[in-house]
Subunit: 677 residues, 2 copies
């Protein structure tokens, strides 16, 4: 006599089937290919396979109590509730719940292996969770003298029998902990398996902590985000200044340091690795865990940081032909680079694109997915060089343009790094030519009542990158600067803000109070010199010329969509940028900050193993344009020196230029914190 | 108009073909699949592709001078002769020699990649040279700004284009040396490629040194043999006492040490690795090379040494069920075990067979090839345990038998390790019961004139393993010991050599001269006590019972061939061993020493990559017998306590027993040196 058949539907997948009464729900789900997580393999230990019974929704049935559809709460479930974590109302462990009658079972997102990880910005697709490393609990048979066999071989056979994992390798360094772990736990283990091929860690008994860190190594800031590889959640974040700053603010001065010091590269490699290790310890501490629980690192960096981190002297990147040592993705045990996570933990570094277009840009692409866009999309990441990607679903091009460090506040007379006291917002009255401004660390404008009091702790110290853009743009809009970038000396008559400075003129943005207590406050005025304006002209001309070159190659006159990545992109006022001609004309509502897109790319690579193949393949197919080799680049550069520039009509910009600039600001809330640390 | 076709035959392969006149010989050889070595890829740099023209042997031609068959000596060849090594008479570089007319070309063995490496013993097949690591010289294109690409990618493309190596990986640690090497050499490199899959080392320009080390880690002695991986030659050897001896002479006392000291395993791991590193330095120094030139290590060891070397606590091997951590072969970068060869160098450890049957036995099997024998072959390797393999081409069985350390001279009242002064040969006159003996370090018998003078430096200090066998066997042949192993007290009447020793009797082998200067010389007599005889009985009964068990399993009554491996096998007198019943009856000329077969196995695995698959597959198919689980073992053991034993008729032995024992000694000349170091 055959057992009575019972029907079951799983949501949200909609998969359905009939099973003999008393079939465990997890078994039914598996045979239907329903995505339910389990680390312990149905032993009621891990709590990952929880479901709820969506009773009464089954068409042909009346509403019934759950008890008639499913077996009553088992001893294993009661024990789990007591020992681990109480089961929420209506939740059951599907491995210990048997089918009794037709029913609909809901698999909540946290019980799915391949759940979607929600990204903040609405325009992005969510990340499909599919981490390279997974945990498997397994019971290993006792050694048998009749069939002498290594304990590793017992383990491998159990993993094959229970989880279908075949041909697994095992890190040799793990062998020493195998027998002690088996002994401690009565021969049950949790193993971490990397890419379905290698056992990279093991723990006695049930182990459920599985973390990865997504790392963004910038020239200025290094940030790490600890993610739970089982849920995709970001659990902790930490960042710090790149300690290499003491060898030079910008990348080229660090390369110069390396050239002049035989041990310079090794020294810089050492301190950046130490910095990362600090961050790993910090984020692990934030979740009250240990770096031992971190099994993976994914990392993005510009080419020079990338090479230094790998221990490679970046000297070849300091001059033509800017030859990378490797442009391929790197996959290596983290310990080989002295990165201290779990001994078997792996590091994945995204591929570089070209000598000036690094793994950080690969991260931006992974995050922004220009290859999936119908719209012609421009991605710009500004640092010492601007890394530029242009394209759509048909093709992608990339180049780098030598903007120099002016956008970062360097080589500007009163320039400084973005930090408390730095001018970041400026407005100039076109009538009076009087400015008002805001500094980082205060929400007040300089003409508001409590400004002096609120900024007294740090003072007004200089101008940061976004402040420079604003003040030059406002000077242009107020008529202080001509189309050719000349500060108009005739205005000396109209305003004391315009002063002669040898044979050129300067604009006085800020005059310190002569009565101020000398301390944090600067004692000299903040002026915008003719040379400062020239530096901005050179930088923006380089950026624009690079973009124009790619537009040429693609054969488009217009760009549909612009995404500005990184700290610069988060803080810049789009309209000011367009006033200066940094970026080509585009509908203003199609210009936005991509936030920390490079870091997001690292997080995608961390949470979704397949995305690594995607970006590796994509990078090999990107058309790499070397601006220095393009005869047209020089002409575009010269043409772009004017404000906004000679070749772009900027209809979108001038249709809105009468509105106050504030109304079109694009700053992304919350994107600022990290930068100011 | 097509070029005139020329015929060429290559010897010894006999491959032949027609080619356009002026075809380089190397190209012709390659297109015919003739095995000619080349590291530099036909650039006349490496000198590996030398050939001679066996002129006039082509049937349809008259004898002609070589000049008409081949192009005259090229500038490249002249330059090679001057810069590197003069070309021997008649030798040409096939890469720079063009075919002019029909001819026969001889490829000498040293120009063949897959040459045969001759093994000493005539009964062995030679080793086919096919090392896992090979060198490839390559010229790497200059970086090109038009097509930005990493230098690694340039290198990989060049290796694919020139050598057909596809999909190569590259050790991440090598990346840092890539660009400096390219710079140093004008962008030419030699790379070492492991198993056609990974670049593990690189050097600027042409590099031809490529060494591997075969290592045999015994409980007592550790030996390393440096081989040229391009020629298969053993270039240097070194050995030392296993420094773990200070934790215990035999394996079990070392395991006890580990059990009693929490850091004991780590300590022993450290000192054995240090010892290996010493040996690597020594052998590299012998060839005036550096450990950097060593790219591979292959290693055999018993299970406990194997585990300690891998950093695994061997405590589970100290008691039932004797569970190995792993029985699989180990393949790992040597640096991961702190072994100092080239940073990218690889270690291969042969697989273990069972808890007591280690990678050393796998080495013996690889060397002896019982799986290819028609004859039923017994392989015995005696240490603290005897590792026993029995079988032929149809099936192989293995077991280990707990002989204890008596055969190594331990637990014997006057026993000692084989060293100068240890008694190793003994004869007892059946009439007078007077003994004569020889000690290690002297070729004289104790009754010869200069014996005392020649041994005065070290004296007569004790009895080593082979000496124990001899003296007990001689005592049995002289009637001093009964079939049951009892020293016959009645003989006290006949000889002062027999003395009462409590309730049992002893035989005085050596009475020190009362007048001897006290120093190296021992002052107490060397006696063979009743307990000594019992220890030998227990040991030999265990060995014999193990063999008998395997014979039972196979279902044979007789063994065709016996090979005794290791130091014990090299020094033992076969007839004495048979007199005692250590080994079953067998035609005496079919019993021989296998020499250091385990070490030879390591060398085979070093020189021939495919042999690794062979032994791995073979080991999984060996039937492993656990003597402790076999009810019959105990009975066989008891039966084998008698001399020779109760179940074996020993017809072969007794047909020759009248001949003096000396005539059937099987010592292998030259096999002794290593042991005595």
């Amino acid at each position: 006599m055959t057992e009575k058949q019972v029907k079951v539907v799983f949501t949200p997948s909609g998969r359905r089937g009939s099973f003999p009464m008393h079939t465990p729900l997890l078994d039914a789900a598996r045979s239907l290919g329903v995505d339910i997580d389990s680390v312990c393999g149905g032993r009621g230990l891990c709590g990952r396979c929880q479901i709820t019974c969506a009773e009464g929704t089954f068409p042909k049935h009346q509403i019934q109590s759950a008890i008639t559809h499913l077996s009553p709460l088992s001893e294993t479930e009661k024990s789990y509730s007591q020992r681990k974590k109480p089961l929420a109302n209506g939740r059951r462990l599907s491995c210990h719940t048997l089918l009794l009658d037709d029913c609909v079972i809901d698999v909540p997102p946290e019980s799915q292996v391949h759940r979607q990880v929600v990204r903040k910005a609405a325009e992005h697709r969510d990340i499909e969770l599919d981490a390279a490393t997974r945990l498997y609990f397994v019971e290993v048979p006792e050694p048998d003298m009749e069939v002498p066999k290594g304990d590793l071989q017992h383990l491998l056979e159990a993993l094959e029998a229970e989880w279908g994992l075949t041909g697994l390798l095992c890190d040799t360094a793990l062998l020493r902990s195998l027998q002690p772990a088996l002994k401690k736990s009565g021969r049950s283990l949790t193993v971490a398996v990397y890419k379905n091929t290698s056992i990279i860690a093991l723990w006695p008994g049930v182990h459920l902590s599985l973390y990865g860190v997504a790392v963004d190594v910038g020239s200025t800031t290094v940030a790490a985000h600890l993610c739970d590889l089982s849920s995709g959640e970001v659990l902790a974040s930490a960042s710090m200044m790149n300690p290499q700053i003491r060898f030079g603010e910008d990348l080229m001065s660090r390369v110069s340091y390396v050239m002049m010091h035989p041990e310079g590269a090794a020294e810089m490699t050492g301190i950046i690795r130490d910095a990362l290790n600090d961050l790993f310890t910090q984020v692990a501490k934030q979740v009250k865990g240990s770096v031992e629980d971190i099994l993976e690192i994914t990392l993005v960096a510009n080419p020079i940081m990338h090479h230094l981190l790998l221990g490679i002297d970046p000297v070849e990147l300091g001059g033509a032909p800017f030859a990378l040592t490797t442009d391929a993705a790197i996959e290596v045990p983290a310990r080989e680079l002295d990165l201290h996570i779990n001994h078997g933990g792996r590091l994945y570094v995204l591929p570089c694109i070209a000598g000036h277009v690094g793994a950080d840009t690969a991260g931006v692409i992974l995050s922004e997915e220009p290859q999936n866009q119908d719209q012609m999309t421009l991605l710009v990441d500004v640092g010492t060089n601007a890394e530029i990607v242009l394209g759509d679903k048909n093709r992608l091009l990339a180049c780098s343009s030598p903007t120099g460090p002016a956008f970062e506040g360097a080589q500007i007379s009163s320039g400084q790094r973005a930090a408390a006291g730095a001018v970041e917002r400026v407005r100039i009255d076109p009538q009076t030519l009087e400015p008002r401004f805001r500094v980082i660390g205060s929400e007040l404008w300089s003409d508001e009542v409590d400004f002096a009091a609120q900024t007294s702790k740090f003072g007004v110290t200089g101008i940061c990158g976004s402040g420079i853009i604003e003040v030059v743009a406002e000077m242009f809009l107020a008529g202080i600067i001509t189309v050719d970038g000349v500060i108009d000396g005739a205005l000396v008559e109209r305003s004391s803000r315009i002063i002669a400075d040898g044979r050129t003129f300067s604009y006085v943005l800020y005059q310190p109070d002569a009565t101020a207590v000398i301390g944090v406050e600067r004692t000299t005025p903040i002026t915008i010199t003719q040379n400062d304006v020239r530096q901005i002209q050179l930088a923006k001309a380089a950026l624009y010329a690079g973009v124009k070159l790619l537009m040429d190659k693609v054969g488009v006159e217009r760009i549909d969509r612009i995404r500005l990545a990184g700290a610069f992109g988060s803080h810049i006022n789009v309209k000011h940028a367009m006033v200066l001609g940094l970026i080509p004309d585009c509908a203003l509502d199609q210009v936005s900050s991509a936030g920390n897109a490079a870091g997001t790319g690292a997080r995608i690579a961390l949470l979704n193993n397949k995305s690594r193949n995607t970006i590796e393949l994509l990078v090999t197919n990107i058309e790499k344009i070397e601006t220095a080799m393009e005869p047209k680049f020089q002409q575009y550069f010269v043409d772009a020196m004017a404000f906004p520039n000679k070749t772009d009509p900027f209809p979108n910009l001038f249709s809105v230029v009468e509105k106050p600039v504030d109304k079109v600001a694009t700053e992304v809330p919350g994107s600022r914190k990290r930068r100011r640390k």
